[in-house]
Every structure is written in structure tokens, then in C-alpha cells.
């Protein structure tokens, strides 16, 4: 026997309609933000993960989460910062779980076997340096790492980074200074190498 349910059709239709309209408005609003902040999400994920496919997955997941919780965001101005934090957290989780599985790259451990690059730019672009640099960056505290990545992205001023992270500009500056200094300390062997050259 088929079960019957009691409904008030007009009210249900109105509710359905208003839900649809709210969905459409939310989607429109979110798509505007997606065009603006999608690349930022991808770059933050890529900066942490160093892998295109993983970065795409994580950025997409973060954007979907942001979409689901978009209604709960009270201040729309904070969307960028909110999204960056979601992406960064997700990327760190992914990186941690990947680290457990990953077979360590040993390329960076044998710099002497590779031909020495001539200039600092060439050195920065070399895979050997990149591997070492990535490792050094991954070892930095999270708060320093995020500031370094955001500040290094094109078009981001200190003020913008401060606005994204909802931090005072002074804090951003000090974190940036501390982060770069720590990186430099970790890569000190390259200074010695370039100095000798």
C-alpha cells in the first residue's frame, strides 16, 4: 500500500521557490569571488604542496567548502582571508599525509655530483636548489610560511597580506623578516658555495 503524506502545497511551493532564488543568488555571488580568489587559492595550495594535481584538488576542495559555508560568512570583505586559511589548512593536512607515504627525494643530498650553476638566478632555478629550498620552507613554522608565500605572490603588498590574514602590518613585516632569515640560515651552504666561486 502506498503511503500518503500531508503537505500544504502553496506554502511548500513558496518555500521551494525562495530556496531556489537564494541558491541562485548565492551561486552568482560566489562565482564572482571565485573569479577573483580562485588563482590565489590554487597558488597557496601549490606553494605548500609543490604538486599541480594535488594543488588543484586541494584548492577545489577548499573552494567547495567555502561555497557550502558561504552563508555563514558574516563579513564578505574577509572572504579572501577566510579562503586562504581553509586552503592552507587543507594543504598542510594533505602534505602531512603525503609525507608519510612519500619516499624521500635524495637529490638534494648530493649537491657535489651536479655541475655548479653560475649565477644566483640560475642557482635558484636549479632543481637541486629548489629541492633544498622546498625542504627548508616546509620546515618553517606555519605562520611564517603562509606570510612568506602570500608576500611573494605578485601584486601583494604588505598591507594586502595583513588584510588577508587579519594581522597588523607590523606583525606581517616581522614574520616576513624572521621567515626569510630562517630560510637564509638553512640555505647557508649555498652562500659558502657562491662565495667560493
Amino acid at each position: 500500500m502506498q503511503e500518503l503524506v500531508l503537505i500544504q502545497p502553496i506554502r511548500a511551493a513558496e518555500e521551494h521557490w525562495s530556496r531556489e532564488a537564494a541558491h541562485a543568488a548565492k551561486r552568482r555571488d560566489f562565482e564572482e569571488r571565485l573569479a577573483e580568489c580562485g588563482p590565489l587559492a590554487y597558488r597557496v595550495a601549490r606553494g605548500v604542496l609543490r604538486n599541480d594535481a594535488d594543488a588543484e584538488d586541494v584548492a577545489q576542495e577548499a573552494l567547495l567548502r567555502a561555497y557550502r559555508r558561504f552563508d555563514r560568512l558574516r563579513d564578505a570583505q574577509r572572504f579572501r582571508g577566510w579562503l586562504v586559511r581553509i586552503v592552507f589548512r587543507l594543504a598542510l593536512d594533505r602534505a602531512r599525509s603525503a609525507k608519510r607515504r612519500e619516499v624521500r627525494e635524495t637529490e638534494w643530498a648530493q649537491p657535489a655530483r651536479r655541475p655548479a650553476p653560475a649565477t644566483a638566478e640560475e642557482l635558484a632555478a636549479s632543481s637541486e636548489f629548489q629541492a633544498r629550498f622546498d625542504r627548508a620552507l616546509d620546515e618553517l613554522p606555519e605562520k611564517l610560511r603562509l606570510v612568506l608565500l602570500l608576500a611573494a605572490m605578485e601584486g601583494h603588498t604588505m598591507e594586502e597580506v595583513a588584510a588577508i590574514l587579519a594581522l597588523p602590518v607590523g606583525t606581517v613585516k616581522s614574520r616576513l623578516f624572521a621567515g626569510r632569515k630562517k630560510l637564509a640560515e638553512k640555505l647557508q651552504c649555498y652562500v659558502t658555495n657562491t662565495k667560493k666561486r
Binding site: P9, G47, Q60, Q130, L137, L149, K181, A184
Partner: protein, 234 residues
């Protein structure tokens, strides 16, 4: 060894790009070793910045935006399904609550004893979570709905019952086969949409000024009855 005390200042200057203090600057201009350290640190920070730029400014894949949009599009039906599941659960819970309220009211009506202004009834189920219930005979909200319920000093105003009853009074409820509620809702939307179009188009037309219809007076002439010629005589 003498130069060690300048090392921190040299690193700081290289990191920030700021000018050296006058005393440190004086020393560096005279000390080849410190000049070498400063140059090395500067190249180190240039290297760090270059590395950071390389890592932070990767090209975003061209299809990334489309991919996310597609994922969002996929998300909507799932979300709607989730919402309708919540709605279904909510309706079920509301129906159950209503049924309990009606049953309770009926059991009170039959089992309670009448007083001058009110009816006091003890819950018949011993040890049941339902407390003793007091029913005021005030405004009539329906055939069997109580207005006030209280137990051991706590009073619950049953305004939700009143609102529900009012809502029910405003719009009739319809029995629909389970799973076909959405179809009915869509049908109602269609009707409502048509109605809205009619209203808009009617509203757009200027309403003509209403004047009484002028009908010229009718003259009724006298009826002349002429007998038909007798055709049978021919």
C-alpha cells in the same frame, strides 16, 4: 674575531635592504672580510626571494575555474537532496508531534475531570515522561487543542500549537503519495507563475475610466399584426 660583533647587523641589513648604521658602515668600508660577508648575505637573500617567487607564482591551470564551477554545479543537487531530506525529517517530526498533541488532548478530554473554569487531568500513563496537564477552557482554538499546559509549576505556552493551527486554517493540507510531494510543488509553482504573469500583464495595462454605459432610449413602436394571405385559396 673583531668582525663577529658586526655579523648580526650585516645579516639584518641584507635581509631588510636597509642602510647600515654609520659605525657599522664605517667598519665595512674598511674591512674586506665584512664586505665579503655582506655581499654573501645579500646574494643569499636574493636567492631566497627568487626561490619564494618561483614557488609562489605558478601559473594557474586554464581549466581550473571551469573545474570548480562544475564541482559547484554538482554540489547543488546534492545540497538540495540534503535539504529535502532535512525537510522530510522535519515534516515527519512535526507530524509526530501533532499526533501526540492531538492524542494527548483527546485522552485528557476523556480522562480529566471538569472544574468551573478549567479542566485538570493527570497523565494516565504512570511513569511516563509526560507530566500532569492542565487545560484552560478559554479561547477555543479548535476542537481538541489545549491552550496551556503546565506541570509542577512550569508553564509552557503552546503558542506553536496555536500558530500551527492558524496556518493549517489558512491553507488546506493535501494528501499526496509519498515521493510525489515535489511534483505537486512544481505544479503549484507553475500555476503560481502563470498567475503572476497574468497579474503583471493586467497591472501593466492602464485601467480605463469607468463610466456608466450610455444607451440611447429605445422607442417601441406599436405592434402591428398583419394576417398572412391565405395561400390555400390559390
Amino acid at each position: 674575531m673583531l668582525c663577529d660583533k658586526y655579523e648580526e647587523a650585516l645579516i639584518g641589513a641584507a635581509a631588510s635592504g636597509a642602510a647600515l648604521d654609520s659605525s657599522v658602515g664605517e667598519h665595512v668600508s674598511l674591512c674586506a672580510h665584512c664586505q665579503e660577508i655582506l655581499a654573501a648575505q645579500q646574494s643569499m637573500f636574493a636567492l631566497v626571494d627568487a626561490g619564494l617567487r618561483t614557488r609562489a607564482n605558478v601559473a594557474v591551470p586554464g581549466n581550473f575555474g571551469h573545474r570548480v564551477r562544475a564541482a559547484i554545479q554538482m554540489e547543488n543537487p546534492q545540497e538540495r537532496r540534503r535539504n529535502s531530506a532535512v525537510l522530510a525529517f522535519g515534516s515527519l517530526a512535526a507530524a509526530a508531534a501533532l499526533l501526540i498533541a492531538i492524542l494527548l488532548a483527546q485522552s485528557l478530554r476523556h480522562g480529566g475531570k471538569d472544574t468551573a473554569g478549567s479542566v485538570v487531568a493527570e497523565s494516565k500513563l504512570q511513569g511516563s515522561p509526560l507530566p500532569p496537564v492542565h487545560i484552560d477552557n478559554g479561547t477555543n482554538l479548535g476542537p481538541s487543542l489545549p491552550r496551556t499546559l503546565y506541570s509542577s509549576g512550569t508553564v509552557w505556552r503552546t503558542s506553536w500549537l496555536r500558530e500551527a493551527s492558524l496556518r493549517r486554517k489558512v491553507e488546506p493540507e493535501v494528501l499526496v503519495p509519498q515521493g510525489q510531494e515535489e511534483l505537486l510543488v512544481k505544479y503549484m509553482q507553475g500555476i503560481a507563475a502563470r498567475k503572476a504573469r497574468v497579474t503583471i500583464s493586467a497591472g501593466l495595462q492602464q485601467e480605463p475610466e469607468m463610466k456608466p454605459v450610455e444607451v440611447p432610449s429605445i422607442e417601441i413602436s406599436e405592434l402591428v399584426v398583419t394576417p398572412l394571405p391565405d395561400l390555400s385559396s390559390n
